[in-house]
């Protein structure tokens, strides 16, 4: 186990340094890039904090959507005791695969209307909100006003 400060605490320290000590010494394009760098660090901090939980929720929603689609198609489905993969890389790969399935269904017209469309819209709104909670929470706050 590593000693304190934690990863998040270290990142926050670097971000503070960039904003307080670096940005004021630069101008023009380099100052802008220093601000972008600080903003990217803030994204990384939020993702480290909330990214895994969001990904598990997205996985669960996508599995439920898959079940809705399978139900409609009359296919087998059994997601009651489903749990998301514990390993983060496996989880990410699983979500990418589920998103590819969803994309294919949308492209085929499966989500053109009806209850599956409603479920897809609901899922994608939750997903885009979550993405913004990490990428740009200020934008989300403004858009929800």
């Amino acid at each position: 186990m590593q000693d304190r400060p934690t990863t998040l605490e270290l990142l926050a320290a670097v971000r503070d340094f960039v904003i307080r000590d670096v940005v004021p010494t630069l101008d023009g394009r380099r100052q802008f890039h220093a601000r972008v760098a600080a903003n990217v660090l803030a994204i990384v901090e939020r993702e480290l904090r909330d990214g895994d939980a969001q990904l598990r929720e997205e996985w669960t929603r996508l599995r439920t959507l898959g079940a809705v689609a399978a139900d409609r198609d009359g296919g087998p489905h059994d997601v009651d005791d489903d749990v998301p993969p514990a390993d983060p890389a496996t989880l990410r790969a699983a979500v990418v695969a589920l998103n590819a399935d969803l994309a294919a269904r949308i492209r085929a017209g499966d989500a053109d209307h009806g209850s599956f469309r409603a479920a897809v819209l609901h899922h994608l709104r939750a997903t885009t909100d979550d993405k913004l909670r990490i990428a740009n929470p200020g934008y989300l706050a403004e858009a929800s006003r």
């Binding site: 972008v36 990217v40 994204i43 969803l102 949308i106 994608l124 990428a135």
Partner: protein, 386 residues
């Protein structure tokens, strides 16, 4: 040096037919999309490409070019590079022509490096000349440098027009309060004039047109769908949903006119009185005139402003001014289609920019961070899709 290399995958290039909006320039649609985004990124302005000439050298070559072009001695002063994106260089300077007491303030637009005969600059020169003849406020163009030997790249020289282009200033600075009030109506009237321009009479036959058998809307949707499928490193169900929506809500083909192609607040030169000039005609093509109205309403161009038209105006006001200036009846549902299309296009451009970073072509933090801006555009798409 942040000029994005053309990383367009081979399979995205011309297949059985030429890409509709490639206009025979030998460049892929991705490069065109990139140029669009580069001119959006105000902070990327001022870049130059590797091997750029020095101001002193350029000054000397400009003087000898203008001396030949005007047939009298020309003195150049104050040459300086202006912010201008990665797809071309823009320089301001003063030239004193033989027999003229006052120096002229001029602008040089130069291709970024040697190019083929069918130059972007030659097309831009012709479009600007035609637009001005049609009463559209644009800088007056003077000399087209046909000989790449003269300045090391294709170029043209035009009038210097003073003004501001930073949207954030327009939205927030007190000195632009009047401009904020009048701009929407001005933009509507200007668009009507742009769309009335007869491209066949004006010799603009090089402009890309909708594919045969398809309408303008379908052509544009297919173009960005192709880009998306070729470039996105991961699936995007929201973009898929947007593409499906667009394909199932194509507006009935209407008029086919000149389309500016990048008509948004960042390409408007303004002062305290409002619009002074319309800039950046590089994405001009033939298509549905309502495409320009929809693009102007895309959320990214509001820069946090509360109103849909560039943050400063209402849609109704834009449409009314457009109709009153002879632009033809505006179907708000069709403009909604183009606004949704514009958001999809902007999302694909964000993905394309991030892809450039991921492919290792450009080690740029701003390109990398654009990948995460896709989330904003997807959120807006979900708001627009019913």
């Amino acid at each position: 040096m942040t000029r994005a290399p053309d990383v367009l995958p081979q399979h995205l290039g011309p297949r059985n037919e030429r890409p509709a909006v490639d206009s025979g320039r030998g460049r892929g649609p991705l490069e065109r999309a990139r140029r669009s985004v580069q001119s959006f990124l105000d902070y990327s302005r001022g870049d130059s490409y590797a091997g750029a000439v020095t101001a002193a050298e350029l000054s000397e070559r400009l003087a000898s070019y203008l001396t030949r072009a005007t047939g009298g001695a020309v003195a150049i002063a104050g040459l300086r590079q202006l912010p201008g994106g990665a797809s071309r260089e823009t320089w301001a300077f003063e030239a004193t022509l033989a027999g003229e007491p006052q120096p002229r303030r001029l602008v040089l637009r130069r291709d970024p490096g040697p190019t083929s005969v069918d130059s972007d600059r030659a097309h831009e020169f012709q479009i600007l000349r035609a637009a001005r003849a049609a009463g559209v406020p644009v800088p007056e163009v003077y000399w087209l440098g046909d000989d790449p030997e003269a300045l090391g790249a294709r170029f043209f020289i035009m009038e210097y027009v003073a003004g501001e282009t930073l949207a954030r200033r327009l939205l927030r600075d007190a000195e632009y309060q009047h401009a904020r009030g009048v701009m929407t109506a001005q933009l509507g009237a200007i668009l009507a004039r742009i769309h009335a321009l007869d491209t066949t009479v004006q010799g603009l036959d090089f402009l890309a047109a909708p594919r045969t058998g398809r309408g303008a809307a379908q052509t544009e949707v297919e173009r960005y769908e192709q880009l998306y499928r070729g470039l996105a490193p991961e699936p995007h169900p929201v973009i898929e949903l947007a593409l499906r929506w667009l394909e199932t809500h194509l507006p009935a083909p209407g008029r086919e006119t000149l389309v500016h192609g990048d008509f948004r607040i960042g390409n408007v030169l303004f002062d305290a009185d409002g619009v002074h000039a319309i800039l950046d005609w590089e994405l001009a093509h033939r298509g549905d005139p309502l495409e320009d109205l929809g693009w102007m309403c895309v959320k990214a161009w509001r820069f946090g402003g509360p109103l849909p038209v560039g943050g400063v105006g209402e849609r109704d006001e834009l449409f009314a001014a457009y109709e009153q200036a002879g632009g033809g009846a505006v179907d708000p549902a069709a403009v909604h289609f183009w606004e949704l299309f514009g958001n999809m296009k902007w999302a694909v451009i964000c993905i394309a920019q991030a892809r450039t970073f991921l492919d290792g072509g450009v080690a740029s933090l701003e390109l990398a961070s654009l990948g995460r801006r896709t989330a904003e555009v997807e959120h807006e798409l979900m708001r627009l899709i019913d």
